[in-house]
């Protein structure tokens, strides 16, 4: 079996386990390439029936408009229900406080909104597109990752996962984060997108954009980031990951289609999350966020 078939079989087996073992699963959908791949796998898992669970988007309010328009288009195309948890609402209600200063981002605020939405809508399993190759704390993550009443990840009390046997038994109030594409790499995701001819937001391809240089990273100019107007300049760039606009840096690129993007990634000497400011805050930024409920 070749790599992509192997990974597809594994992911669909996991998705079917989620539907078999949980009462109220949901797919965490950011509109990024990984969640688009996951949505497509979910559809394949249940054909010719429809996807038997809804999507949940945690909206930071700092989105790339291209991502949101494709999200709404895909919701129609795949005939799924979409829930949106709004970080802006959490801020308005005073549940979280907007960060201040040059590096302000809503990335970590997402966690509160996510946990509240899970509790409110009583989801017991949340599937996400996180991969183990992204980051060293994620390399330790399970496929079924149990979170306690507070949404916390306890890295020392993880359930061992043996063979393909997935244990999703939980107490009421707990929930499980599920990562069907755990074993995929960035390149696998791109090759799968090409193989399955999936549509992804246009910002993944090279385009002219106003950016400014911050600590060696090309940040997109937007209303969400403070910078000196004279620092802005136009550059041909693309994004390797799509997160909150305030924490996602662009990379210089001329790649206009999937073939050239894949060539670029093959030849790249920088890691995918090397352009994510949210990971750069400290050496264990991801681990610390995961412990309080980030996915």
């Amino acid at each position: 079996m070749n790599t992509l078939s192997y990974l597809e079989e594994e992911a669909i087996y996991i998705i079917r386990e989620v539907v078999g073992q949980f009462d109220k699963p949901v797919l965490l959908f950011s509109g990024g390439k990984d969640s688009i791949v996951l949505l497509h796998l979910c559809q394949k898992a249940f054909l010719p029936a429809k996807i038997p669970f809804p999507l949940l988007h945690i909206d930071t309010g700092h989105n790339f408009p291209e991502t949101i328009s494709l999200r709404d288009e895909l919701v129609k195309r795949y005939q799924v229900q979409l829930h949106v948890g709004s970080v802006q609402e959490s801020i308005d209600k005073g549940k979280v406080v907007e960060e201040k200063g040059k590096y302000a981002s809503r990335n970590s605020l997402q966690t509160t909104t996510l946990l509240e939405t899970i509790e409110e809508l009583k989801f017991d399993a949340c599937m996400g597109g996180a991969r183990r190759d992204e980051e060293k704390a994620r390399a330790k993550e399970r496929i079924f990752s149990v979170r306690d009443d507070f949404g916390q990840w306890n890295e020392k009390l993880q359930r061992p996962e043996l063979f393909d046997i997935l244990n999703g038994q939980i107490h009421s109030g707990e929930n499980v984060r599920v990562f069907p594409i755990s074993n995929w790499t960035e390149l696998d995701v791109w090759e799968y997108i090409r193989h399955e001819k999936l549509e992804i937001p246009s910002i993944y391809f090279a385009h002219q954009r106003e950016v400014f240089n911050r600590d060696g990273q090309l940040m997109p100019c937007s209303n969400f980031i403070v910078h000196k107007p004279e620092d802005a300049f136009e550059e041909s760039v693309r994004f390797r990951t799509v997160g909150d606009m305030s924490c996602t840096a662009a990379v210089p690129s001329k790649a206009l289609d999937l073939d050239t993007v894949i060539d670029e990634i093959r030849g790249s000497s920088i890691s995918e999350r090397g352009a994510r400011m949210d990971d750069k805050r400290s050496e264990a930024a991801m681990e610390e966020r995961k412990k309080v409920g980030y996915f």
Binding site: N2, Y6, Y13, A49, A139, F163, I165, S271, G274
Partner: protein
């Protein structure tokens, strides 16, 4: 391109993380920003070399203590093959992690320190790989640079390992490589320091190992989910979706449902909505049957000519994985694939005494023990001995109080 899954085992300080770090680095799987982070961290810790273990030890506590606690998953590829590495820590107390790491792999790389040779840990690693029936074992004798690349010492370690393997009724494919993970000898390229060594370097070896698939086993599919679209177009559609755990299914096959015993014929096979003539072990499939038959999640669809066993009593080997002991008076959930049944413990016969290196009678298993246990199930189980059929002979035990995965079992 094929995927090869590997687990690694070694004692503390055998240089395992260094070896893996080097494989990642030399195959360009570690990127510049990651290497820079590791370099800076190595420097701040006062090392005069790049400590690649910092790349694989993902948790804060691991980096602080300089040890690997939990199984870590790492990925690298070459133009010839894709590799998934389950890096399991080698400490005495972490047997359960090695069993976990070894449960999903075709190959185990076992590290030894050339200065120390076979240690108690090596014996335990061998016991575990044997228990899990791993077919390819690669022994990397590390730190050859510290014994002046001495062939005699290497040869005597090889002989000692072969003698250990011969104790078992088990014939894995064995390879032995003298390496220095730190200096890079025989890791990615053949070393000039050991002209006496005629074999492959580690990377060439794992690139070229041949994998065999056994499709001759009994056709067996466990139902994960019944697909019923309930739309006009697919009004009577009733597809039994699940993974083919072993063997092959083709259109027209005579099948029976376990446990109901109802018989039918495979009318058609679909995979993700597309018709197929045949599906093999490891593939997800949707089977549509000729008769209207009731089967639900956890039930098995099995070819009528099978040789599988059905029983409520099973003899097993169990590796215990949680801090509270295996309690002979408790009930547990047994999960075999996606099928679950309540079990009680009939008898704990014996366990492996790692010090005396023999099986000793016991009435209790504590964490990291591996012992012989007789189980009594609430419902009959369809199974095969693990040594004949890994998919149908393995199970986990789930604690009914905590819901934790408390042990893994292998049916004898």
């Amino acid at each position: 391109m094929e995927i090869l899954r590997i687990t690694t085992a070694g004692s503390v300080d055998d240089g395992k993380s260094t070896l893996i770090g080097r494989l990642l680095y030399e195959t360009q799987s570690l990127k510049i920003d990651q290497v820079e982070t590791i370099e800076a961290k190595s420097k701040s810790l006062g090392y005069d070399y790049i400590d690649f273990s910092l790349a694989t030890d993902g948790l804060l506590t691991e980096r602080e203590q300089g040890i690997t606690i939990d199984v870590s998953h790492l990925y690298f590829s070459t133009p010839k093959r894709r590799f998934i590495v389950a890096d399991a820590p080698g400490h005495v107390e972490y047997t359960r992690n090695m069993v976990t790491g070894a449960s999903n792999v075709e190959v185990a790389i076992i590290l030894l320190d050339a200065r120390k040779g076979v240690m108690a840990q090596t014996k335990r690693h061998l016991y575990i790989t044997q228990l899990l029936g791993i077919k390819h074992l690669i022994f990397t004798i590390n730190k050859m640079d510290l014994i002046d690349y001495d062939q005699e010492q290497f040869d005597s370690i090889v002989e000692a390992i072969k003698a250990l393997v011969n104790q078992y009724d088990w014939e894995p494919q064995l390879s032995f490589i003298p390496v220095s993970a730190l200096k890079g000898d025989n890791v990615i390229v053949k070393s000039n320091n050991m002209p006496w060594y005629e074999g492959n370097d580690l990377l060439s070896l794992i690139e070229s190992l041949t994998l065999t698939e056994d499709n001759a086993l009994d056709g067996f599919l466990q139902v994960q989910h019944v697909i019923r679209p309930k739309t006009e177009e697919f009004h009577d559609y009733r597809g039994f979706a699940g993974k083919v755990k072993s063997g092959v299914f083709s259109q027209g096959d005579e099948i029976e449902i376990f446990p109901s015993g109802q018989k039918s014929i495979v009318n058609s096979i679909e995979k993700y909505g597309t018709a197929k003539n045949k599906v093999v072990a490891g593939e997800n499939a949707t089977l549509l049957l000729e008769d209207e038959i009731d089967a639900s999640r956890g039930n098995a669809i099995v070819k009528t000519n099978h040789n599988l066993k059905i029983d409520k009593k099973v003899k097993t080997k169990i590796c215990w994985m949680q801090s509270t002991d295996l309690n002979p008076n408790s009930k547990y959930w047994l999960q075999q694939g996606v099928h679950k049944s309540l079990v009680k413990i009939n008898q704990i016969e014996s366990k492996m005494d790692w010090e005396a290196w023999k099986s000793v009678p016991t009435d209790c298993l504590t964490m990291n023990d591996i012992g012989a246990v007789d189980l009594q199930l609430a419902q009959p189980l369809m199974f095969a001995p693990y040594s004949d059929n890994k998919s149908l002979g393995a199970f986990i035990l789930i604690d009914t109080q905590t819901n934790n995965t408390s042990g893994v079992g292998f049916i004898l």
